[in-house]
Amino acid sequence: MSFSATNLAQPLQLNTATPRSNDKPSLLLPKTSSFLGSTRNFRPTSLSANPSHSNAHRRSAVVAVSEAVKEKKLHASTNLLITKEEGLELYEDMVLGRSFEDMCAQMYYRGKMFGFVHLYNGQEAVSTGFIKLTKKEDSVVSTYRDHVHSLSKGVPAREVMSELFGKATGCCRGQGGSMHMFSKEYNVLGGFAFIGEGIPVATGAAFSSRYRREVLKQADCDHVTLAFFGDGTANNGQFFECLNMAALWKLPIVFVVENNLWAIGMSHLRATSDPEIWKKGPAFGMPGVHVDGMDVLKVREVAKEAIGRARRGEGPTLVECETYRFRGHSLADPDELRDPAEKAHYAARDPITALKKYILENNLATEQELKAIHKKIDELVEDAVEFADESPLPPRSQLLENVFADPKGFGIGPDGSYRCEDPKFTQGTAHV
């Protein structure tokens, strides 16, 4: 139940003032500094005023682990957070995310992809930190910023790039596009283009895990769903509706807020009455955790606990990852409203650079090994572009396919008549 990395923290009462009066000015003056987490100490919370007073409904304290993990890192260098293999896997995944998105920008400006393309640069630690801990059967539901979640989940870069090029070899044969990545094989259940829209679907996926285990008696079904969404979504009704139902029904889901502090040009602080989103977890009877989303090791630590909790059937967790996007909202966004100082502040906290530093300082790998990863990824992304570029466009006949799962489908058939007139369209037993 408790987060292992949080044992340094003291559970605090919700109704007592948390020791962060030094943060107050930043809440009032959004542009003066980063506003959440990075300068903050523990964020303990508990529904219970007295943790020893047990109550079936009350939960024990759950706190932000960022500082705790940092402590561990500083004082227990012999007890590393990751193995060499893990470190290289995380590094490779983040580099893949970054290089892939950079390539997308190039390809977009060259007219190879079109429409809205939202890039993930800067937020890699969240996708990598969470998704690399999942099993293939676990599900990921994303937003319109979904390329990197798909890559982390295992969808081949070739297929994602090809989808972005609108080619028949894409993971959705060119029918989905940038904002709608699906993969049945890897359980990527979609990018959803509207704010908040993906959360109920993710909650439904978690619901079906529970249904399989408890109603269909598939005892081994311990699949977990990760719902990724942004800070803006935390003001949308569907977020609250689903926090309620997920907690009520103890669903195996982790709500992952990628708080990149901005909508398009609207600051989170101007949009949200209480900008600390993690606090909304305890309000619904689930743990709320805040974590530094620019540090993949901290994210991973929190993710491990939250995913484990869901897998054990102990219910949902709300995790707020404070992160930052290094590019505009989409490639069509001139990005003029964000303070250059703020951008510089976060650029200096690049999650890939940070992991590299950690790996090298702890002698987990050599500079050469990391360079080799960059080379490998560059080739992989180049190959993805070549593959996408050479792939055929979807044939004309594909236009009317896949509207229905029903093999007959309907719509306009090759002869111009309605397909539904095909005999046995959806067969009944009655003679009509």
Binding site: C172, I199, P200, G204, A205, G237, N244, A405, F425, Q427
Partner: protein, 376 residues
Amino acid sequence: MLGILRQKVGAGSSSAMILGQSMQRIRPTTSALRAFSSSAKEMTVRDALNSALDEEMSADPKVFLMGEEVGEYQGAYKISKGLLDKYGPDRVLDTPITEAGFTGIGVGAAYYGLKPVVEFMTFNFSMQAIDHIINSAAKSNYMSAGQINVPIVFRGPNGAAAGVGAQHSQCYAAWYAAVPGLKVLSPYSSEDARGLLKAAIRDPDPVVFLENELLYGESFPVSAEVLDSSFCLPIGKAKIEKEGKDVTITAFSKMVGYALQAAEILAKEGISAEVINLRSIRPLDRNTINASVRKTNRLVTVEEGFPQHGVGAEICTSVVEDSFGYLDAPVERIAGADVPMPYAANLERLAVPQVEDIVRAAKRACYRSASLAASA
């Protein structure tokens, strides 16, 4: 806080209850059948829907019902009566009043091959969830290029109710029928209700199932075939309720009853009307409609919904496209008035089609309106 505590206790004990219910679930479907066939050859639409749900839930453990008040309260219109007792709270799921949330949850569950039946207390409330019906359910199969299909049923009462005002009285047939990826069914009789609901639940795609509150209590004769648990109607096929040769009248849901009454009146005046019960709004059975119009050469469309861009407009287009040369008169379109539903009973009556409207329109189509009758 107290409320939350109470809910928690309920959730905590649910796993213990599941065991008990799974035992009940094994009960054979035939028992329900016998009860119906021994009683009478009549069945209400409510019982038809209830028995269809019961049989499909019994046949497939992946089928579950969710919605507001469907469990303990047995459904706002008692369609889910007895199902909670039989299948337990995990399969008859009382949801909070959160249409967007629980509809999306239903869609997500369907992504994984469960077969949710989402009940809207009335279809008016589906407006809160229309994003999930259209964007999540209807489009996923296409967006994922066939990787993820969504076998879900959205059902509930639709159309004009009585005395409930503008926000609770509206027909959504044309709305949902405009969306590729959805199948839209609208039953009239008990036979329709049973056969179409069972077809909808078995269908691999999202189905919008538009019932009518005012029909729930009506009884219809049912055959032994209809009562069989394997009974199922084809999606996309209309039914000719009454054959005729002078004019075709198309209708769905409650308006089928009105059309049949109109046909009786017309028969007394020597006009033989053919009444088509559409059953399926999307796909639309263009074949049956056009074959009928080619025979009668005249068409009257009837619906409760708003006239503009309505079901009648679509039927008219299909006839103009396929059978223009066969028409001997302009197509008559009977629809609800182009206004939000008024509350006052007299105005409300004026706002929805009445039997006499259909009779008048059919006579006009046959050039038999009062003024012309003398010269004809």
